[in-house]
């Protein structure tokens, strides 16, 4: 009895090992991803069902995966790299690890500003970094034309909730300002912003939104889809009721537009399954996959034939997007981090 079970364990374990890179099955695609959403797993299963190509996954922090890719070099088993920030994509390209994605389908689906000029990477979904406010406290009229730039003014002293500068989304937001205005302006802006923090930066984006719902702060800066997740009810009653108390304000509508970041991917030079990798990315931007994405992660679709989820589109869909090239986030990421260190943004 006992040995029967332990045999089963060992067999399962070895089976597990075999699906690592030792055994190369013909039809497969190997993906390194820093998106760890359950819904993505389901998407990969759909892809396998449709094409017969097995998807193998390693998910970890983006930068760590980049280092692994870089060390592995030509021996890397990875075909596709997927990440949640444009800065990471830029870095992989900077290291020369990507190769061009040759696909008419992708070119016709993904707008030009959301892919690299040589098609070395493409966006799979968009997210906006927006302002959240408590419906009971403010109306849209109160906050009309509020811009990112305004958030550092004295009017908002001790009223902002935003997460730590460890966070990539914040680094990208600051990098975008550096790209547009230069370091000097951005540093002054960030100085004011830090003075406006209502508390020491803590928790993730959702925690900032909850702080606004609970009146611990007046405004929160966070990614749009977090509210979608809260309102979906998947995160429990508490988050649902907190989500109902807040509203989204798309910043800088009269000026540069709302800050957009992307979740995206590319094919690696070392890829041994290039064809499969192309098919995989084509699938990811297909209507079917995009529909699945928007309904589960509440990101904005990259495929124009797909509408955002109703949960998130109720806050508006025709807002102005910042047209700044997202690759500048990576270029100025290091400068952004140092700037945040200098102004004491923890």
């Amino acid at each position: 009895m006992k040995s029967k079970y332990s045999m089963k364990f060992i067999v399962l374990f070895i089976g597990n090992l075999l699906f690592s890179n030792f055994l190369l099955v013909d039809e497969e695609v190997n993906v390194y991803t820093s998106r760890h959403y359950d819904s993505d797993t389901q998407l990969y299963e759909d892809f396998t069902e449709e094409t017969g190509i097995k998807v193998n996954i390693i998910s970890a922090k983006g930068k760590a995966l980049i280092e692994r890719l870089r060390s592995e070099g030509a021996n890397s088993p990875a075909d596709v790299f997927i990440t949640v920030d444009a800065g990471n994509l830029w870095k992989v390209q900077d290291y020369g690890l990507f190769t061009a994605i040759k696909s008419k389908k992708i070119e016709s689906t993904v707008p030009k500003i959301y892919r690299d000029e040589n098609n070395e990477w493409i966006a799979l979904a968009k997210r906006a970094r927006v302002i959240f406010f408590n419906k009971g406290k403010y109306s849209f009229e109160d906050l009309e034309n509020l811009s990112y730039e305004d958030l550092s003014s004295e009017n908002w002293r001790n009223k902002l909730a935003i997460r730590s500068s460890n966070n990539l989304y914040n680094q990208s937001l600051v990098a975008s300002l550096i790209a547009r205005y230069g370091e000097e302006y951005t540093e002054n802006w960030a100085k004011g912003l830090v003075k406006n923090f209502s508390r020491k930066p803590q928790g993730n984006d959702r925690a900032q939104i909850i702080a606004v719902a609970n009146n611990e702060a007046d405004l929160a800066i966070a990614n749009s889809y977090y509210l979608g997740l809260m309102l979906s009810g998947k995160k429990g009653e508490k988050q649902l009721s907190a989500g109902k108390k807040v509203n989204i304000l798309f910043p800088s509508q009269k000026t540069n537009g709302a800050h957009i970041n992307i979740s995206g991917g590319g094919i690696l030079k070392a890829s041994k399954n290039y064809e499969n990798a192309v098919k995989f990315l084509e699938f990811m931007v297909s209507e079917k996959a995009q529909k699945h994405l928007v309904e589960n992660t509440y990101e904005y679709p990259i495929n124009s034939k797909v509408k955002p989820s109703k949960i998130i589109s109720q806050f508006g869909t025709d807002f102005k997007e910042d047209s700044l090239n997202v690759s500048s986030f990576g270029k100025f990421n290091s400068a952004a981090l140092k700037l945040m260190d200098r102004v004491g943004w923890q």
Binding site: L12, F22, Q202, L337
Partner: protein
């Protein structure tokens, strides 16, 4: 000198072990080698703005954690070994339960409980019918919260070593002290503590190393420690080289503690008068002292184990997952268990071999290697992983893939190597302290009776060290089960462990979903701890 040929044959297997140790050290060497590389302009930034803050926070953290964990670790060990009080019987083993709770999980549960809208606050608000946003607890997301989290999950290391030392202390000496008129307090501070100091410091060294290398808990509490600095430099400035230089500095800092521990250990040898064990006659506590002793020992167990377990269970109940026993969950469960056992066996074997060799060899090269390998415990997991990846890629890209068509990177070997480096210090600590309790006379007698070293190893040392071997095995297993950052990046495709599954949810603060794997980590961690506690119960002098 005249028998060089003979020596070579005789020592060839030792050479083999030396080589294997050498392989273990290479990833650490990769990290340290960054110190000899170029120092770029990011250093100016670090020095001008943040480095002092990272160092200060780390120092404050280890200072606070040391004090708190010493109080509870040593205090409870002393009460348990010398006094009789209510519930002592189960507290004796229950006190090590918090070892099963990784600091990051305790940190998550703390915010889940004590944030303004955490469950503890809501519960109290309900009872006292108070304002919606009134907070009964101070904010835990700061260095004080972090100190509590580390102290109450790591104090068992001190409890374990201190308790062992107290049990083994010569009764005659203590009794002599008493006859000479020392009060209980003075016996504790003037006799027991100084005699147990090496053991206590050995435990404390583990606590400090683990605290310094942690990333999960300090990130969650937003305490900018040195580890946070390493990650920010790497992730935020895209500067792995500087990050590894920072990690090397951390290692140098830690080596001071290790050297301190070595020095203390050397003093240990005189403190065991092995033949004078006497069953400790326990003092029975009465009245309020009885209750106080119980409360003192119950507090760390409550904060470090019962509280997080209650909160996680609360989450698990709130989230009735349809995939509780899903395929992925089952697989990660099996992976975790098998990896833990494999790493435990390998680590223990090497610690055993090494300490055996050290007994007959006075050569300092062995000590040097063991010292380096012990430092592995304090390397932040992700940085260690990079060392391993670089080492393996070098092998892969240069010969393995072309000659043997084999890729090491991303295989299970990398994971095992990481676990061995990360937990060798635990194995070595247990085996080494076990060996110190074996009188050298035993070896000398055996040798003079012409018993081969091989036989001494199997027939004398193994039986005598049974407890130490088991302790080492179990400590390593419980460490591997909790390991996260290195696992995340080194694992093969489609390979999850329970810690990985927990992290993936917890990173997005999806605590309800994280609850199930988190409970499993604790439950599996309880298995080795259950055995450890049995060892503890049976380890009374006179029984061995």
């Amino acid at each position: 000198m005249p028998m060089i040929g003979l020596n070579l044959a005789k020592y060839s297997w030792q050479l083999g072990i030396f080589l294997i140790f050498f392989i273990f050290i290479i990833p650490i060497a990769f990290v340290i080698s960054s110190l000899f590389g170029e120092y770029n302009e990011n250093w100016n930034h670090l020095i001008d703005y943040v480095l002092a803050n990272y160092v200060l926070n780390s120092l404050l953290l280890i200072f606070g954690v040391s004090i708190l964990s010493l109080i509870f670790g040593v205090g409870s060990a002393w009460l348990i070994t010398n006094y009789e009080f209510i519930n002592k019987y189960w507290l004796e083993w229950a006190l090590i339960l918090p070892l099963a709770v990784p600091p990051y999980i305790l940190a998550y549960t703390f915010t889940g409980l004590f944030d303004t809208f955490g469950s503890a606050n809501e519960l109290l608000r309900f009872f006292f019918n108070s304002n919606d946003d009134f907070s009964f607890f101070p904010n835990v997301r700061n260095i004080f919260g972090a100190i509590i989290v580390f102290s109450f999950t790591l104090y068992p290391y001190i409890y374990l070593t201190a308790r062992m030392a107290f049990i083994n202390q010569s009764r005659t000496l203590i009794e002599a002290g008493r006859i000479l008129g020392l009060e209980n307090n003075s016996i504790f501070f003037k006799l027991a503590i100084p005699m147990a100091r090496p053991a206590i410091i050995a435990g404390l060294a583990l606590v400090i190393m683990e605290t310094l290398s942690d990333f999960g808990a300090v990130e969650h509490f937003a305490v900018p420690t040195f580890t946070i600095g390493i990650y920010r430099t790497w992730f935020g400035m895209y500067d792995l080289n500087t990050a590894m230089q920072l990690a090397s500095l951390l290692l140098i800092f830690i080596s001071f503690f290790l050297i301190l521990e070595r020095i203390e250990r050397r003093k240990l040898s005189y403190s065991y008068a092995s033949s004078t064990f006497k069953t400790v006659k326990k003092h029975k506590l009465k009245g309020y002292k009885n209750l106080l002793a119980f409360l003192f020992c119950f507090t760390p167990l409550f904060i470090g184990f019962l509280v997080p377990m209650m909160e996680i269970s609360n989450w698990a109940i709130n989230y009735t997952s349809e995939n509780f026993f899903s395929d992925i969950f089952l697989k990660s469960f099996i992976n975790t268990v098998i990896l833990g056992i494999l790493a435990g066996i390998i680590c223990t074997l090497f610690a055993f071999f090494f300490n055996f060799l050290k007994r007959f060899e006075t050569g300092s090269y062995l000590k040097g290697i063991s010292f380096l390998l012990s430092m592995g415990y304090s390397i932040p997991g992700l940085v260690l992983a990079v060392g391993i990846i670089q080492f393996f890629s070098l092998l892969d890209n240069n010969f393995l893939s072309s000659c043997l068509n084999l890729i090491l990177t991303g295989s299970i070997v990398g994971l095992l190597l990481a676990y061995i480096i990360k937990s060798y210090a635990l194995a070595n600590n247990s085996i080494e302290s076990g060996y110190e309790r074996i009188n050298y006379a035993i070896d000398d007698v055996s040798l003079s009776l012409k018993v081969s070293k091989f036989k001494i190893f199997f027939q004398v040392h193994v039986p005598l060290l049974k407890t130490s071997i088991l302790t080492s095995l179990l400590l390593v297993i419980s460490e591997v089960i909790k390991e996260l950052p290195a696992t995340l990046i080194l694992r093969p495709f489609n390979f999850d462990t329970l810690a990985v599954t927990t992290y993936i949810y917890a990173a997005e603060e999806r605590m309800f979903e994280a609850a199930t794997p988190a409970i499993m980590i604790v439950l599996i961690g309880l298995v080795p701890i259950f055995f450890l506690s049995r060892i503890i119960r049976e380890s009374r002098p006179g029984k061995t």
